[in-house]
Amino acid sequence: MEKEMLSGSEILMRSLEREGVETLFGYPGGAIIPVFDALYDHRERLHHILVRHEQAAAHAAQGYARSSGKTGVCLVTSGPGATNTITGIADAMIDSTPIVVIAGQVAAGFLGTDAFQEVDLVGITQPISKWSYQIRRAEDIAWAVSRAFYIARSGRPGPVVLDFTKNAQTSEAEYEPVTVDFIRSYDPDPEIDYKQIAEAVALINEAKKPFALVGQGVELGNAQQELQQFIEKADIPCGCTMLGLSALPSTHPLNKGMLGMHGNLGPNIKTNECDVLIAIGMRFDDRVTGKLDTYAKQAKIIHLDIDPSEIGKNVPVSVPLLGDCKKTLALLTELIQAGKHTEWIDSFHSYEETEFNQVIKREVYPTEGPLNMGEVVHAVSEATHNDALLVTDVGQNQMMACRYFKFSRQRSIITSGGMGTMGFGLPAAIGATFGCPDRTVCLFLGDGGLQMTIQEFGTIMEQQAPVKIILLNNNYLGNVRQWQALFYEHRYSFTPMMNPDYQQIASAYGIPSRRVMKREDLEEAIQEMLTTDGPFFLEACVVEEGNVLPMTLPGNSVNQMLLEC
């Protein structure tokens, strides 16, 4: 029997369906029209969300991936359409988010001629993607798509770029499904070294003051349960990185809070007091470690990671445990002795008290003055019974949200960690509503970040995406303003922000909204937001010069935290 000849665009559709894709975020353009034409016939199964800017397509794909655990897909045209996704690709790379970006490209015959909307996308994206490949023939599509998804989701996940020439979209080929599940140059599941497991077990058994650092790797490796079993058996207190915050419920007695520059006092100070430090799926980012020369020098460090290039990259390691942490954690749990470190764990308490008295009480439970950022975050978290999915933008809103939002479920935090991309929040939250349609998605952002991707109000309107948008409006680029206040003698160089009437903008897009300025109105406003079906825009007018505290000053040791300023 003669095999069916299909256009490249049709082969792409079938290959995407075969990968289990249900949702795509995209924006059509000249060099991707044939694909969008094929999509028209597949629009029942492949639900396409038309964003308002390609950057938002990439961030929405990230939000979708981070919330659901599936691979996010974005579909854009060549040239500017492709380059607009770059920020999202770089963000997905540094935060290990599986997305596949499919971009149109000029026909192969035009490559290298500076043709209309031609850009060397593979060249541009090679350093910021896990894999970047140009499809020049319809015959290669099924293989390339399967390889792309395999690479994006396996091992340490990351972004993959497919640069799809127009001739490959329009020419015909036989379609034969392909499954790539092996690449000889790529090992997504490194073999476990049992000798090193034994060394780690010995260190953990002997430890008097063990401390664990929980990173996003636990969520990516789906090892939340293995983590709990491990820390409970060994009785080890934990600090979470920002991206790892929901890997362990906030209320777990061994969860001692967030690490890093604006993290909690206890876990930061104890990092430099513990005798064995167990880092799980985290990468010792400089915002977590502070000054490296003084970081955990007293401790033996065990590092669990799936990526060999992370081992020893920033911090020298006593015992590297390469491998999938779902397996390595389970092995450790099986082999260690049950531990009891009551005194050590109790020693966190005085720091919690200090932080509460000097920072949290003031930020979250003020009795007078304008609303505080932390107060608003706390109220929303309480009103959702700590059950909502948190999305943040970048800056003070992000730090406050991560400090005061609490989590009871895994995969509940979506924020731009490594890249710190302002404008990430709104599109990522849209993506999250499609990734987890059953969950309440609460987005915190500032007046700066909102305006970077505010055009996505259009996508929210069209899709009725039920994002609960909470704007913490302080009329400043608050994080930079805080640094200017602390380190640049209050010289507020271009950080005051003249703002529009955001409620009018929301209303133009048909998004119900409310502005809250007074403490006594806050709770009711939040209730209105949560009980309104679909999207809601809540503008909280917060104290203008609020500061995020505590803070490890740049260049200082992790245990030196500023509590007041």
Binding site: P127, F182, I183, S309
Partner: protein, 186 residues
């Protein structure tokens, strides 16, 4: 400043367009200068071999090599100091035939370096030398001193490790075996 060592990095990759770019980008990101670079087919079909030298510190070379190896179609990357490899370089010296013949020292120098003349015509002659980098430089300096060099080119270092087999062979065999075993277990 920390003392720098000349390292030789040997990389094996799939023979696909764009990999060299990805490898050199790892150096660019850290602003490390590549001293020499040689790329050619390896003994394994479809696999290319890169020999790269650069001056850097033990700490940095370790991270650079891991970041090279992380690239999707790079199979393996290893680094070596000079004592861990056999290395060679080839150089071509184009010399002026009249100048060369007029100077009795010239042919003496060539013999002393065990270099060979592979082409002679009335205008120029070609001298080939294979050897260590230092000797190649030294021959160039001596020929320069008798003022007969018209052109000079060197290949950049090629090297093999002192261990018996290319480790990449074993690695690929092991990868395949593990994959088949996992498939079998499924």
């Amino acid at each position: 400043m920390e003392n720098k060592t000349l390292y030789t990095i040997i990389v094996h990759s799939e023979n696909i367009a764009g990999i060299l770019n990805q490898i050199t980008a790892v150096f660019t990101r850290r602003q490390i200068n590549i001293e020499s670079l040689n790329v050619s087919a390896s003994s394994i079909q479809g696999v290319h071999k890169y020999t790269i030298t650069c001056w850097t510190t033990p700490d940095i070379i370790e991270k650079v090599v891991k970041q090279i190896e992380k690239k999707m179609d790079v199979i393996q990357a290893h680094y070596f100091t000079d004592s861990e490899i056999f290395q060679h370089e080839v150089a071509l010296y184009k010399v002026s035939t009249p100048e060369f013949q007029n100077n009795p020292m010239a042919s003496h120098i060539i013999r002393r370096y065990n270099a060979h003349i592979v082409e002679v015509n009335p205008i120029f002659s070609i001298v080939v030398m294979a050897g260590l980098s230092e000797a190649i430089t030294s021959l160039y300096t001596e020929l320069q001193s008798v003022d007969c060099v018209l052109q000079f080119v060197r290949s950049g270092r090629i090297a093999v490790s002192t261990s018996c087999f290319e480790r990449v062979n074993e690695y690929l065999a092991h990868r395949l075996e593990r994959y088949q075993k996992e498939g079998h277990e499924k």
